[in-house]
Symmetry: C2
Subunit: 154 residues, 2 copies
DNA sequence: TATTGTTATACTCTATAACTATA
DNA sequence: TATAGTTATAGAGTATAACAATA
């Protein structure tokens, strides 16, 4: 941040590495049944919003259509979601969560939340307060940024 | 957020998803030359600590030895690091950063820091302060947690 | 012609198991 | 026998390009 010829401002990069490690840590703490973060996000969305078009899912999750095709295929193979025809538009495919998918999602979500909490509990009180402000705020601007970029030529 | 029979405590999971997206976002904002977060972390460590054994690198970065072998191979192919024999122990391999690796690392690190900063600038002042406390704190406990788990049967 | 979805292909990151060479 | 490293194999997650079916 101030002076230094060689390895000066490392902070941004360290934070990214740390966050990546954190995602990995929490991910690994909740994979007994093998539900990845990506799969969990899709199940959560389908659970909240009901069946969605594959293309809608891809856009909502910020990934490419082929990526979502593959993810849905893996999840379908695992019995977590179901594809069905869209009556209105026969090009389309509706993706819906199965009861098994919903159950597994709840289990894993709870495990993930516990893993995150056990990390946060290691912090001091002021740090904990900071985390509870910072993380949702970051989540918010990430979402906003993604939407803006999307409407600008994605 | 309070009560609710069905989808109660979503917060932990949403944060993880948001953090994953954030890592992806910052990663993508700095990939013109194709330097992944994992590669960046290795280059940074080698730059700070000098040449390291492959096994030390793997342990320090919290990944498996084959993983590090492959990462180093990719990086060597890209001219970013160099393998050399360890004179003391002929089983070992020392990995050192090349000048090109160091240069590229600095560029990408700066880009990554900018991407992170441009996210943080979208926040309110109190939120920004929270982020600057929360992220380093989280980075710290993640590192500690990893070390503890390692010494307990990894 | 444009949209939806899939297939083909490729790359990174990750792991475990089996192997080689050295200690 | 134990350690360092590699190779073999596998799978998730990601992308772009090319294609088929439908609108």
């Amino acid at each position: 941040m101030h002076s230094g010829t060689a390895d000066a401002d490392d902070s941004g990069d360290r934070l990214i590495v740390a966050l990546e490690r954190m995602v990995r840590h929490v991910r690994e703490s909740a994979r007994s049944g093998g539900l990845s973060v990506a799969a969990s996000a899709v199940l959560g969305r389908l659970g909240r919003e009901g069946p969605l078009r594959l293309s809608e899912l891809a856009r909502a999750e910020g990934v490419s259509q082929p990526n979502m095709t593959q993810l849905v295929t893996r999840m379908e193979r695992a019995g977590l979601v179901r594809r069905s025809a869209d009556a209105d538009d026969r090009r389309g495919v509706l993706v819906g969560v199965t009861p098994a998918g919903r159950d597994l999602f709840r289990e894993r979500r709870a495990e993930r939340a516990l893993a995150l909490e056990s990390l946060v509990r290691e912090l001091g009180e002021a740090e904990q307060r900071a985390v509870r402000v910072a993380l949702p705020a970051l989540a918010r601007v990430i979402e906003e940024t993604r939407v803006i970029e999307e409407n600008r030529g994605g």
